[in-house]
C-alpha cells in the first residue's frame, strides 16, 4: 500500500472538468512532480489533498485512511503557494514559528526548530527582520521555512519558484531535494517547467486534458514518452518529429528520411508495411560532421542559435525537410552531414500520436 493514494478522482466546476479519473500512488518520502500546461488541473489536485475542496468522485487516502470529510486543519498536510504571503507585522522568526505556536510547542523546542531550518535555508542572520526588510529571496525562503517547520507528513508546493529571479530559482531547485529528505516529507510539486519537473521529481506525473497521461521517472519520460505530446513537452529545443512510412524489408523494417533509407532496429519490428509514423529524434542525438561519412545525409545549415552549454542548429535536408540538432561543438560549414542513431529514436503512430 502506497503512502498517498488517489483513486479515480474526478472534479469539475459546473460543466468544466478539472480532473477526470486520476489515480496515483505516491510512496512515503517520494517527491512527485506534477507537470502539465496551465489549466489542466494541477492546482486542483493539490487543493483536493489539502482539503480546501472535495472531489466529486473517488477517494483520497493517506496512510490507508480516507481523507474524505476530514477538515484541512486535521490533515497532516502543508501547502505552499506561488505567492508566498508573510505576516507583515511579524519578524521572520515569528513568521516561521507561527505554525508551531498554533500547536503550543514549548519555547526552547520552538527556537531550536526554527533555528535549524533557518540555517538550512541560510536565513538565520535575518530572523529578527520584518518582511519589508527582507530581499525577495529571503522572503521566499522564510515562507518555505514556515511550511517546512512543522515537518508535515505531506508537503504540497504550487509552482513555488515561478516568480523568483533566476539566481534564487536555480539555487532553490538544487537545495529543495535535500530539504525534502531532511524533513522526511512526501512532496507533491506542481510546475509548468519541464526542467524543474525533471530536476525535482523522483517521478513525474504528466496531466494532459485533465487526465493522467504518463507517470514515470525523469529518464522514463524523457527516453520513453507515452505519446508525441509528452515527447514535445520535454526537451529544449524540442524533439524532432519526422513523418515517415515504414516499409518491410527482409525480416526488418526501414524508413526513408531525408532521401536516405534507414533500417529500424526497434523490437518488435513495427507492424505492417505502409505504417505512417513520426520518427522522434532528440536534437542532442543528431551527430554532425563537416565531411560526408557513411550513413549520413547532407543538410544546409540555415541558422545557428547558441544556448547554455549547447548550440541549436536549424538544418534543411535535400528534400526540404527541417531538422534541429544541438551540439556542444558546432562545426563551421554551410553544408553538414547528419547521422542519427535510430536505435534511440522513438516511433509514434502518425494518426494517434501514441508511442510504439
Amino acid at each position: 500500500m502506497a503512502f498517498i493514494e488517489l483513486d479515480d478522482i474526478a472534479k469539475s466546476f459546473g460543466s468544466k472538468p478539472a480532473l477526470d479519473g486520476v489515480s496515483l500512488a505516491i510512496e512515503r518520502g517520494e517527491t512527485l512532480a506534477v507537470f502539465g500546461p496551465s489549466g489542466v488541473g494541477k492546482t486542483v489536485l493539490l487543493r483536493l489533498l489539502a482539503g480546501i475542496m472535495e472531489p466529486d468522485r473517488g477517494d483520497i487516502r493517506i496512510g490507508g485512511a480516507s481523507l474524505l470529510g476530514v477538515p484541512p486543519e486535521r490533515r497532516e498536510v502543508a501547502m505552499a503557494f506561488q505567492n508566498f504571503a508573510l505576516y507583515p507585522h511579524l519578524t521572520a522568526f515569528e513568521n516561521i514559528a507561527s505554525p508551531l505556536r498554533a500547536r503550543q510547542l514549548d519555547e526552547t523546542q520552538m527556537k531550536r526548530r526554527v533555528g535549524e531550518i533557518a540555517s538550512l535555508l541560510r536565513i538565520d542572520h535575518v530572523l529578527d527582520h520584518l518582511p519589508r526588510a527582507l530581499s525577495n529571496g529571503q522572503k521566499q525562503r522564510t515562507a518555505l521555512a514556515r511550511s517546512l517547520v512543522r515537518a508535515p507528513a505531506v508537503l504540497l508546493l504550487d509552482d513555488p519558484l515561478r516568480n523568483v529571479d533566476a539566481k534564487l530559482r536555480y539555487e532553490m531547485r538544487l537545495e529543495l531535494p535535500r530539504l525534502f529528505k531532511r524533513f522526511g516529507s512526501t512532496a507533491l510539486y506542481v510546475t509548468q517547467d519541464y526542467r524543474e519537473a525533471m530536476a525535482l521529481g523522483d517521478r513525474i506525473a504528466i496531466l494532459l486534458d485533465h487526465r493522467l497521461r504518463q507517470l514515470g521517472t525523469p529518464a522514463e519520460i524523457y527516453n520513453h514518452p507515452a505519446d508525441q505530446r509528452v515527447a514535445r513537452l520535454f526537451g529544449d529545443p524540442p524533439i524532432n518529429l519526422l513523418p515517415a512510412r515504414v516499409e518491410a524489408s527482409g525480416g526488418g523494417a526501414t524508413v526513408r528520411l531525408f532521401g536516405q533509407t534507414l533500417a529500424l532496429r526497434h523490437r518488435p519490428v513495427p507492424a505492417a508495411s505502409g505504417w505512417d509514423c513520426l520518427v522522434g529524434i532528440r536534437p542532442e542525438d543528431v551527430e554532425l560532421s563537416s565531411e560526408p561519412i557513411d550513413g549520413t545525409a547532407p543538410f544546409r545549415l540555415r541558422a545557428t542559435t547558441p544556448f547554455s552549454v549547447r548550440t541549436a542548429l536549424l538544418l534543411a535536408g535535400a528534400d526540404g525537410g527541417e531538422l534541429i540538432a544541438s551540439t556542444t561543438n558546432p562545426p563551421a560549414a554551410e553544408t553538414l552531414w547528419a547521422r542519427f542513431d535510430l536505435g534511440r529514436a522513438v516511433l509514434f503512430d502518425a494518426a494517434t500520436g501514441t508511442a510504439l
Partner: protein, 391 residues
C-alpha cells in the same frame, strides 16, 4: 533596409527618467535584442524608435536621416507590438497581405503570405478572423504581417511572449533564418535571455533606464562589464563570491569568503609577470567579488581526475548537494566551505549526493569585479594570457 543609430537617447516622464544616455550604432541587416527585466527602459526605447513615444533627449537616425520629428507612418518601420492589433474585419490572410497589396501583384502577395504563414505555422488559420483565433495565434499573425513588409527597420516587442515554449524554440531559429536571408535590420525587445541569445547578433542589456553593455552573447558571457550583466546574463547565473586578494609565496591568491567573512576556500592564481594589469587590479588586501560560470567548471569525483590542462591551484573541493539530470545536461549543486556553487555539465555525470567533488577552473573562467562599483576589474582571458607570458 538601413542602419539605425541611437544617440544619447533619453525619455523622461515628468520627473522620472525612464531612459537615459542610450547610444547604439546598429549596422544595416543586423539583429539586435534589447534585454532587461520589466521597467528597465527597453520598451520605452523601442517605442521611441517606432515613434509611439516622444523623444525627450537625443536622436534616432534611420540611415542618415534623423526621425525624431517624423510621425510613425513616415519612418518606414515595420512593427509587431503588443496591442498593435489586427484589423478585426479582415481575415488572417488579408491582415498579413495588407501592406503588400500596393507594391506587389496579386500572385506575388499570395506567395509571400503562404511562405510566412508556413514559417510561423499559421497556414491552417489563414481564412479565420482575428476574433476566432487564440492569443498565441494573433501574436504570430501580427509578427507575420511585420515580417513580410518592406521596411527600413523592423521593431518587434516581445514577439514570442504568448507562445508555448516548444513552439517558441522552433520559431526562433526559423525567424532568425528569415531575418538573415532578407538582411532585415531588426530590433526586438525581450526579457527572455534565451530568446535574446538565440536570435540576436548583438544584445543591448538594459537596467534602470541605462544601457549596461552592448555586445555579442560571447561578449556578455565571457566579458561582462559589471556585476549586473554578469549576474543577469547566463543560465544558471554566474557563481559570484566575495573574496579577498592575498599574496602567497609571491603569487596572488584569492580567498573566497563565506557570509561571516571567514575563508571558505582559496584559489591560487597562475604566476604572472610583476607590474601587469593583474597586479594593478588585484593588489593584496583588496576585497573584491569573483565569479565563474556554472558551465566553465569541470567536475570530478576526486582530484586525481580533474579537467585537462587545469592547474591544480584553481580547484575547489566540495560536497555534492544534488545532481539533477535535465535530459541534455546536468546541474550539480555543490557546497564548498559554506558557499553554494552551481556547475553544469553536458549529458549525465556520475556524482553521488553527499560525495566529495573537485571543481577545476581554467584561468579563462575567472572574473573579478569591484565590490563597490560593480565594475569588472579583470576577466580570465587576461589572467590566462599573462600566465602564458610568464611561462
Amino acid at each position: 533596409m538601413a542602419s539605425l543609430t541611437l544617440e544619447k537617447l533619453g525619455k523622461t516622464f515628468g520627473k522620472l527618467r525612464a531612459v537615459g544616455d542610450v547610444d547604439l550604432a546598429i549596422a544595416d541587416g543586423e539583429i539586435i535584442g534589447l534585454l532587461g527585466s520589466s521597467g528597465c527602459g527597453k520598451t520605452s526605447t523601442l517605442r521611441m524608435i517606432a515613434g509611439f513615444e516622444r523623444i525627450s533627449e537625443g536622436t534616432v537616425r534611420i540611415g542618415d536621416r534623423p526621425v525624431n520629428l517624423l510621425p510613425v507612418a513616415a519612418r518606414n518601420v515595420a512593427m509587431a507590438f503588443e496591442g498593435y492589433s489586427l484589423y478585426p474585419p479582415l481575415t488572417v490572410a488579408e491582415n498579413i497581405a495588407f501592406g503588400l497589396k500596393r507594391r506587389f501583384a496579386k500572385a506575388e502577395v499570395g506567395r509571400k503570405v503562404a511562405e510566412i504563414a508556413r514559417l510561423l505555422e499559421i497556414g491552417d488559420i489563414l481564412e479565420h478572423y482575428p476574433s476566432a483565433i487564440s492569443g498565441g495565434q494573433q501574436q504570430r499573425v501580427s509578427l507575420a504581417r511585420a515580417l513580410v513588409r518592406q521596411a527600413d527597420v523592423y521593431l518587434l516587442d516581445e514577439p514570442m511572449s504568448q507562445l508555448e515554449p516548444q513552439l517558441r524554440a522552433v520559431l526562433r531559429v526559423r525567424i532568425k533564418d528569415w531575418l538573415r536571408r532578407h538582411r532585415m535590420t531588426t530590433v526586438f525587445v525581450t526579457h527572455d535571455q534565451t530568446e535574446a541569445i538565440a536570435l540576436a547578433d548583438r544584445i543591448a542589456v538594459m537596467d534602470q533606464g541605462a544601457l549596461q553593455q552592448f555586445g555579442t552573447s560571447a561578449d556578455l558571457l565571457d566579458r561582462p562589464v559589471n556585476l549586473f550583466v554578469a549576474g543577469f546574463v547566463g543560465e544558471p547565473p554566474m557563481n559570484l563570491i566575495e573574496a579577498e586578494v592575498l599574496r602567497r609565496d609571491g603569487r596572488l591568491a584569492l580567498a573566497a569568503l563565506d557570509r561571516d567573512g571567514r575563508t571558505a576556500f582559496e584559489l591560487m592564481l597562475p604566476s604572472a609577470p610583476a607590474g601587469k594589469t593583474i597586479e594593478r587590479m588585484l593588489e593584496a588586501g583588496r576585497r573584491i567579488t569573483i565569479g565563474f560560470r556554472p558551465q566553465s567548471a569541470s567536475l570530478a569525483v576526486d582530484d586525481r581526475r580533474q579537467g585537462a590542462g587545469a592547474p591544480a591551484s584553481l580547484t575547489i573541493r566540495g560536497r555534492v548537494v544534488s545532481n539533477e539530470w535535465l535530459g541534455d545536461q546536468s546541474h550539480v549543486g555543490i557546497e564548498a566551505g559554506g558557499l553554494f556553487l552551481i556547475a553544469v555539465t553536458d549529458g549525465r555525470i556520475a556524482l553521488a549526493e553527499d560525495g566529495a567533488v573537485t571543481l577545476a577552473l581554467r584561468p579563462e573562467a575567472l572574473h573579478a569585479f569591484d565590490r563597490e562599483t560593480g565594475r569588472a576589474l579583470i576577466h580570465g582571458g587576461s589572467i590566462a594570457e599573462a600566465a602564458r607570458h610568464a611561462a
